[in-house]
Amino acid sequence: MSVLAVAGVTKRFGPNAVLKNVSLALGAGEVRAICGENGAGKSTLVKIMTGLYAPDEGAVSVDGKALTIESPQHAQQLGIALVAQELSLPPALSVLDNIWLGNREVPLFHRRAALRRRARATLDKLGLADLALDTPVSALSIGRRQLVEIARMLTREARVFILDEPTATLSDVEIERIFAALRTLKAEGKSVIYITHRLGEVFDICDTVSVLRNGELIGTRPTSEIDRGTLMQMMLGRSMSEMYPRWEDKSDGAMLRVKRLRVPPLVHDFDLVAARGTVTCLAGQIGSGAITVLRALAGLIAGATGEVSVQGTPMRLRSVTKAQAVNVQFISEDRAGEGLFLRLNAGQNLIATKLREHCRFGILLRGKLRSVAAGLAAAVGVDRTRLRSPADELSGGNQQKLAFGRWIGSDRPGVLLMNEPTRGVDVGARAEIYRLIRQFCDQGYCIVMASSDIEEVLGMADVVVSMYRGRQVARYRRGEVDMQRLLADITHPVAAA
């Protein structure tokens, strides 16, 4: 009998059905992946399972009993727990307090000893034996916070754990911790629904996978019976002949030279030479300094020092304006926080850095700007009709394209710095972004990107620089490094130079 099942569920918003006749059943001890592009209906399905939305048609059943999940609280009472992408742990409270926060079992006066003992046991079970109960959550990494959140759900006797892209912002080591915790849950007979963009994880950790596309359930398969290609084909509705675009050597002279870059306290004496028409990937986990290097080169870090030159022209660090003056542009990993003006429309975002060229005596040439925006939208593949939509109504992929579009269209191609260019972007849009990156290369841009996604690094890079704790571990040309080697480099480098 299934622990949690939905049958024939349809959900409409206005005239659009975002879920159409979806049925799936989750068994005890099953780890089920739910895959689909952005907008496929994954989060709507989760919201129905957790009582945030009521389905328009169809039924939800728990332990074989059809019922209505009234509210998120009701879902919790039924043992359905959501570990959200944005965590709900108050950072100032201790791990112990967070685990028991809001729990119905906690009496007005804490029986501290008993609560501590149970919290301890739960944490140990999840591989957090080294974590002291009184540590404030703010001191923990994102990955550990997720484990604490899982611990909280466990103490509430949850039986179904829904994880919404838990690994989107985690490093590989942390991901392995989460996986270990999930295996523990499975061994105890708990069920897991695992939503992810990363196809590798589906095969690593999940027993079965359900694929949604445009609100319809394409199918549910045991992961042992399908391969990556089949899964991708199910998600996209077409076979993706190649995720990563064909590659030709277009390198043509060093464009960016970095010598002895220091960003206290993380990055020490980092050197880099990147050529025009190439993609250089800084591969590293969170804390490796890869992201920090690019932020420093973009002029965004106050304490950075070092010698940087672009096409022989020295560039001053610590100033965005100075970096832009030598045509060094930056695309942030934090689209909402640092990349886009979410309240402005898509067109205004595209032209955000081009105002100076298109105004006379401080007055904007609005007609000209509109046509520039339309041109840029076409260049990066954003639908022209979306130009007037606020940026926050666009999907992650389209938002990333806006961030790209902002920096192109200049007559002289420069250096493009990108941090995690495909974070939170679904598979389909991801391939498009890779194609764009390659296209910029062909136009003569020098691209330096930092990524913690090894597959992406191997697929895109002409030159790979692996990083660990603020230092370069090794440098490879395309084809000189494989996944195992790179993973070893960025997790525990033994052959560090």
């Binding site: 998120p72 100076r356 401080g362």
Partner: protein, 321 residues
């Protein structure tokens, strides 16, 4: 977290956030119009004139406040004192002639407020705290300079501001000009667009290479200039003044900005909306006055209106994740 959002979500399930906001706005606008037109004496030249004059003073300050709100700096509590101080400077320098006095007062307001903008932009100082400090400084400096006495005009010429051009009071002409220039700056100039971007997302603005200090300073300078124009109009209206002259205008201005529909969190706003906000509040006040409500009750009702507008905004601005 999400549990708390349930009632809002239920309201929004019926309409969309935007349609809901629009519907409420239309209904409220219609209600106010009916209420006003059915009030005896509302459409008389006398009351329309009084209305136009009244909105001119607070209106100039409100357009100025729009710039501060637009750049994400919420509001300034010093604009009222800036109104008073510019009024006093205008009156005192009238001996030089009306136009020079006007320019001196405007320059004073611009510089004094731009300085606050620089502090906010360069040091990322809390805008409210900076404005409280500026308020204190202005009051102190004025008390020192005037010795606590009222200031009377140092020369002739203020009659010009009390007159009318055709059917429209000169006061209102100045106000409308302020609105038009303000709107032009916000939506047609590069600086206006930069202000919007800084207000929408300051970190993204930094990453895009926008000079935040310059942008915020210019926004505050605009605010100061607008407040000073309001000060000159007020000085001319009352013929003399002290630091009490503009007291409370900062609150009325922010009320108008919010009622007009400019988001308090920055990144959106227009002088048109502020104009509408000013008119709505003034019409309600005039109607209440004509219908014989006491002044205390007028304050109370205005307060309630502002509060409900803010509630309406939170409904519209928070989208579900």
């Amino acid at each position: 977290m999400s549990e708390l959002a349930a009632p809002r979500r239920r309201v929004r399930r019926l309409f969309g956030a935007r349609q809901l906001g629009l519907i409420i706005r239309i209904v409220a606008g219609a209600a106010i119009a009916v209420f006003a037109l059915s009030t005896p004496g509302f459409l008389t030249p006398l009351s329309v004139n009084a209305l136009l004059t009244a909105i001119s003073f607070v209106g100039c300050v409100a357009v100025g406040m729009t710039f501060i709100t637009l750049t994400g700096n919420i509001m300034s509590l010093a604009l009222g004192a800036t109104v008073s101080a510019s009024a006093l400077i205008f009156l005192a320098s009238l001996s030089l002639g009306v136009a020079p006095a006007f320019l001196i007062a405007a320059l004073f307001g611009t510089v004094i407020t731009a300085a606050q903008g620089f502090l906010v932009g360069y040091f990322r100082a809390n805008p409210i705290l900076v404005s409280i400090a500026a308020l204190s400084l202005l009051l102190g400096a004025a008390a020192f300079a005037t010795g606590g006495h009222r200031i009377y005009p140092g020369g002739a010429g203020i009659e010009f501001f009390k007159g009318r051009m055709g059917a429209v009071p000169v006061n209102a002409m100045f106000f409308f000009a302020t609105v038009i220039v303000g709107q032009f700056v916000i939506s047609w100039t590069r600086m206006g667009r930069l202000m919007t971007m800084v207000g929408s997302n300051a970190r993204a603005a930094i990453a895009a290479g926008i000079d935040i200090t310059a942008t915020v300073t210019v926004a505050y300078a605009m605010a100061g200039a607008c407040a000073a124009i309001g000060g000159v109009l007020l000085a001319a209206r009352y013929g003399s003044g002290d630091m009490e002259l503009g007291a409370g205008y900062d609150y009325s201005a922010i009320a108008a900005v919010l009622v007009g529909g400019t988001g308090i969190s920055g990144g959106s706003g227009s002088a048109w909306r502020t104009l509408i906000g000013v008119i709505v509040i003034a019409v309600i006040e005039v109607v209440l006055l004509l219908r014989g409500f006491s002044e205390q009750l007028q304050y109370l009702i205005t307060g309630l209106i502002v509060l409900s507008v803010i509630m309406l905004h939170t409904l519209g601005e928070r989208r579900q994740g």
